[in-house]
């Protein structure tokens, strides 16, 4: 049977991922600027976190206000395992993943028994608690002074010392992450997650266990955030608790909303637009006569968030993809119907 049409959105995404991979490889040769490379490392890291969040928010319809904490868990796991105990950095990454999974289970199981907005509350509370521990457990984390001297990432004898090497590994992880999520959403598991978003009672009626599948989505997004956090720590080599505050969780949320949580590309698009807008505001705001204390940024993103959610609730990528995919298909149907008559 002809599956061409069905696999269309899957294939389109695959082409997109291939194109992205190509762009990632040639970018440093086209733009050999340290400024852009370091900016794109940051975009890549945010992109990983937000691609995970897309699975949780966009596909499963669950909202988290605490993903900075998972990001922080990854960063501090790597910092402590490789910086304090001199163990291989890869073990730090894995430790972060494991802790993130356990924490996601601890937060998820009780929250998913309750009404939908309780996950938002529980993750918010969890974010504050993690922040407090990072701040107060000074013997382990260095407290507010931060954690210094995180060694570079190292795997199979290769040490990641310069920006370019981090650029490549971060974007490689993001590309794999996008590929993974694309596979996932075009599968039984992905459809189960989307079903939960569509109608919980209908999802249950076809045998989907809401608890397990919501947990799967939460764990996937937590792991993505933790991995990004680990590489952030190795790249920057210095972290402090303020980087993982509640505000950071909300910034992740803003990126996903801007990009559009219903699209595979929403997380990455949101990360790019966010970072670009922040840079833009830094340049333009002083010209408008305001100081750059960040206040303009706050108002700007607040307004953007509200306006987008009221007028473009699917985000920029979501609306664009919808137009691209569904309109062309509607046309196909109409053409065929016309032909049949």
């Amino acid at each position: 049977m002809d599956t061409k049409k069905f696999t269309r959105s899957y294939k389109l995404n695959l082409y997109g991922i291939a194109l992205l991979l190509f762009a990632v490889i040639i970018f440093p040769f086209l733009v050999p600027s340290n400024y852009f490379i370091s900016m794109f490392i940051l975009i890549g890291l945010y992109g990983i976190v937000c691609t995970g969040l897309v699975v949780l928010m966009g596909h499963t319809g669950q909202i988290s206000l605490g993903h900075a904490a998972f990001y922080g868990i990854g960063a501090y796991s790597s910092a402590i395992v490789s910086g304090k105990y001199d163990l291989p950095p890869l073990m730090g990454v894995i430790t972060g993943i494991l802790i993130a999974c356990i924490v996601a289970l601890l937060i998820g199981i009780p929250s998913f028994k309750l009404k939908e907005h309780y996950l938002a509350l529980a993750t918010l509370g969890f974010g504050v608690i993690v922040f407090t521990f990072l701040k107060e457990w000074t013997s382990l984390t260095g407290g507010l002074n931060g954690f210094f001297g995180i060694p570079p990432f190292e795997v199979a004898g290769f040490t990641f010392t310069n920006d370019l090497s981090y650029y490549f590994i971060v974007w490689a992880i993001l590309v794999i992450g996008l590929w993974f999520v694309n596979n996932l959403i075009h599968s039984r598991t992905g459809r189960a997650l989307k079903s939960i978003h569509g109608s919980e009672s209908a999802a249950e009626s076809i045998g989907i266990n809401l608890m397990t599948f919501k947990l799967k989505a939460l764990i996937i997004s937590a792991v993505f955030a933790s991995v990004a956090g680990s590489f952030y720590a190795h790249y920057i080599s210095f972290i402090n608790p303020q980087l993982f505050e509640v505000m950071t969780s909300i910034v992740f949320l803003i990126m996903v909303v801007i990009g559009g949580s219903s699209s595979l590309w929403g997380g990455l698009a949101g990360a790019i637009i966010y970072v670009w807008l922040v840079e833009l505001l830094k340049d333009w705001v002083p010209l408008l006569g305001f100081s750059t204390g960040g206040e303009f940024e706050i108002v700007f993103f607040g307004v953007l968030l509200v306006v987008l959610l009221i007028f473009k609730p699917k985000g920029l990528m979501g609306s664009w993809m919808e137009k691209k995919l569904f309109l062309s298909q509607k046309k196909n149907v109409q053409n065929k119907k016309g032909a049949a008559l």
Partner: protein, 293 residues
């Protein structure tokens, strides 16, 4: 005697901060029950109320007038917020509405930096600073003001909801939206009314706390979150329970600050939130608990 006086001291400060949380928490409960929105911008109303009062009183307005005008302005801001951001999105999912209120809180906070800058401001206490000594503990007059005004406001709310026509209409809307609609009560109007009322309560809370802990653009976030915890502890649907929850959180905070470390204060409150959410999702004071809703 030392420990008793410390105990009293902590209890006083717990009750003071608890009364502030109570005012904001009631706003949460009213908004949540009438509009179904968990309003994360609730704490920002307190910030706006406090800073507006400070500006007007330093501009020469008598304090009582500044307070009244500030509350009225914040109520208008609240109403505007409802019309501009909640009403157009009223059919959206819970998650979307939550994020919208987060966006609005950003707007308020940023606007506050524009107007008042990032420096903290202070408001002179309502009636001097001479401490009152009770049981070896020191009590600031402003604390009495805080608890007194909160209790008066709560009594006023009780009167409003149970004795006036408009108040009863709001209550009816909470109990049965559909039936209320049949009786000619417009839920849209109630949504507007409830949010601006909550904004007014929030403003009042901010004004009371300003002489004690100062006022700055970022005070709203934590105040809002703590009030939120109080409301959840009370079960989110019950105003008197939210008030009890607020005093409880205030006292827990004061004690964890006094006996543990001020750094752990926030974490302790949120740990209480998680424990309540997980083990008594209908609130501490609910008869039937653990039932899935």
């Amino acid at each position: 005697m030392e420990s008793l006086s410390q105990l009293m001291q902590l209890l006083f400060s717990g009750l003071t901060i608890g009364s502030i949380y109570a005012l904001i928490a009631i706003g949460f409960v009213i908004t949540y029950n009438i509009t179904g929105v968990l309003n994360f911008a609730q704490g920002e109303f307190a910030m706006l109320g406090a800073l507006l009062t400070i500006s007007m009183s330093s501009a020469g307005l008598p304090l009582y007038l500044a307070v009244i005008v500030a509350i009225l302005i914040v109520m208008m801001v609240g109403g505007l917020f409802e019309r501009a951001a909640i009403y157009p999105a009223r059919k959206s999912s819970v998650a979307t509405l939550i994020i919208i209120t987060i966006g609005v809180s950003f707007v308020f906070r940023g606007a506050a930096i524009f107007i008042w800058g990032t420096q903290p401001h202070s408001l002179t206490p309502f009636s001097g600073n001479t401490p009152i000594r009770i049981f070896e503990a020191v009590l600031l007059p402003q604390s009495l003001w805080a608890v007194g005004i909160s209790l008066a406001a709560l009594a006023g709310m009780y009167y409003f909801f149970n004795k006036t026509y408009t108040g009863k209409a709001v209550t009816a809307c909470v109990m049965n939206r559909f039936a209320a609609q049949l009786m000619g009560i417009k839920p849209e109007k109630m949504s507007f009314l409830s949010i601006s009322l909550s904004a007014g309560l929030g403003a009042l809370a901010g004004i009371i706390i300003a002489p004690i802990s100062g006022a700055s653009y970022q005070m709203g976030l934590m105040l809002g979150m703590k009030a939120f915890i109080a409301a959840v502890i009370g079960g989110l649907t019950n105003a008197p329970a939210a008030v009890l929850g607020a005093f409880l959180i205030g006292i827990i905070e004061a004690f964890s600050e006094g006996y543990l470390s001020s750094g752990y204060k926030d974490a302790v409150s949120f740990a209480v939130l998680l424990l309540v959410l997980f083990f008594m999702p209908n609130g501490l004071f609910s008869k039937k608990s653990g039932k899935r809703v």
